[in-house]
Symmetry: none
Subunit: 188 residues, 4 copies
DNA sequence: CATGAATGAGACTTCATTCAT
DNA sequence: AATGAATGAAGTCTCATTCAT
């Protein structure tokens, strides 16, 4: 029951934050969506800001976990690493599409604390390392890795939005095409 | 004088909205940044929401104008069109970097009215047409054009953010590399 | 066990009310200080207001008892009565210094009920009678007895606060001097 | 008009704080009593706590001024100084009876800031000096001056309360008697 | 025109109290 | 009997908006 309420608040927040943004989401909205009393939210989270940060950290953590799981750290073939990273994102988005939007739209929120931004950057580091390795092997374009990452993320999120809006159904083929796009974009 | 005040409000809003977001920006903040009385804002804009929409429409309009100007509508060579579109974006961003962030971060704001979203989509239409033409000519990947557009935009905005944060200086070479990235991403 | 919990709640309340005041003391504070659950307080007291009143009445009762015990009702020598009253106050304060502050700072609380204020005034009546007798015997100044009482109380509480703040150690001599002060103040 | 609103808020606060205490007084109560909107209070005072402190400092200042005015600093006869101090209190109480209660009941409030307590103690210093001089001259009892001051204050406030409750009308004779009480209490 | 004082709706948050366990 | 999770009423405070000057 305890876990239940906390989970409901978490999920309601994720939904609302991803759709309206943190600032445009009121606590009463969250309470109603989670079907709990307004005061109940404060039993589980210190305040609205803490709720945002816990939510952010939770999903950054999950995303990182998804990507890190079985990551072929010592693989020589870079495309295998790329496949893994891309597959991880797809898998995560598949289960947590709202979380993808939420992370994307709040990664520079003024309400994030140091730990949150720290976790965010530690997530990006995985990609930075990948880019760096690729550039060393002359397989990836010699552009700032930050920009390349954003490009892939931009593409990925665009793809998610596209799919969610129902313009088209998600297919494995589509995802493969997207992966190709991304690879083409960054590779030499 | 009238124009002056309106302009100051506009610019203050652009700055604040792009940095903090519409919801986190208060009217007193805007008034102070524009160095006008709070009531004065209401002489030029019906309310905060109207201010957002006028601002959004203004910059969407300018961006569209920049891109459309001398657009080689009947050009056969698709890369020339691509060059033009990319150059337009770069040129616009060069003069209105805040506006780029503003548009990016508010394109799905809950406070946008129909006209604003309409203009936004009509801007996207230019790109849609370009993609469609490219796909017809088998020069562009047969992926949903919406996704391809977002990818290019994502890359572009990522690039802008990257440059603005001072990680590197903007150079013509850098921009050319980015253009290449984008073209590689979408082209067959 | 029951008595134990009730006692702990009582003592925690006394401490907190005397230090922060009734209104600035929250029930969670009391529960924590008493090391009981918040709900438990309601097993022993109807609500916060009832707790205040029971506490007030309890200590007014004890003070009255202390003063009344062996009160030389029929003593002719007024100074002996005065000595007794003063000694009673000192004795009470010695054991219940917090209660002295509590009574002093809450004797006009908006949350006291009729019974509480009734007991308070009935306590004052002892002093009123003493003053009246003294005035009849032309030993006490012909001022409103209420004012004379407050003066003695004011002196007494000031003295308690003074001692508690550690400015000086309580000595029998000091108390005797105070008694003298008080007597000088009211006597002709 | 500006001054008017601020003054009304000040006076309403004084009334409510002196009657119910700071913690039991809500901002809506103040706003209603002052006949202004709730938000208006915040145009004049940063918050409720600031309102309390400004009020406290204002009246401490006035009281100090009243007492200090024409204070016979170099007078040899101590009773003349005493007369002056006592007369100052009476005069102040005459014009600001609510303020007397307010100061008395809030002088140890947890919401007072450093400046407020500083001013309070600087007010007490006037009395401390008087006591010290008296003790030096062997005219005042050799008790802690803090305690003697509290006694006089206690008497004075008791007297004020007594008068206000209408038990008796304030007369010059009454005040003279009180002064005598106080002098008897502290003098050798 | 321009202002900023004034306002009340509503946001965040706390807390006295209840009740299922 | 004891608990503490749950709650909604109410408190403090902010802010979009209006309006008299």
């Amino acid at each position: 029951m305890k876990v239940d309420k906390r989970k409901r608040i978490f999920e309601a927040s994720l939904e609302l934050f991803s759709e309206r943004g943190y600032d445009a989401t009121t606590l009463p909205m969250i309470a109603e969506a989670a079907d709990v009393g307004a005061g109940t939210v404060y039993r589980y989270f210190k305040n609205k800001e803490a709720l945002l940060n816990e939510l952010f950290q939770e999903y950054i953590g999950r995303l990182k976990e998804t990507i890190s799981l079985n990551y072929p750290e010592n693989e020589e073939d870079l495309t295998i690493k790329f496949d893994h990273l891309f597959a991880g994102m797809v898998q995560f988005a598949d289960k947590n599409i709202k979380a993808v939007y939420f992370i994307d739209s709040h990664s520079h929120s003024h309400a994030l604390n140091e730990k949150s931004t720290g976790m965010y950057h530690s997530l990006l580091d995985i990609y930075h390392e990948f880019i760096a390795e690729g550039q060393e092997k002359k397989l990836v374009k010699p552009l700032p890795s930050y920009a390349l990452i954003v490009m892939v993320f931009g593409a990925f999120i665009g793809c998610c939005k596209y799919i969610q809006r129902g313009h088209i159904k998600e297919t494995e083929t589509l995802m493969d095409h997207f992966k190709e796009c991304c690879w083409d974009a960054i590779s030499l």
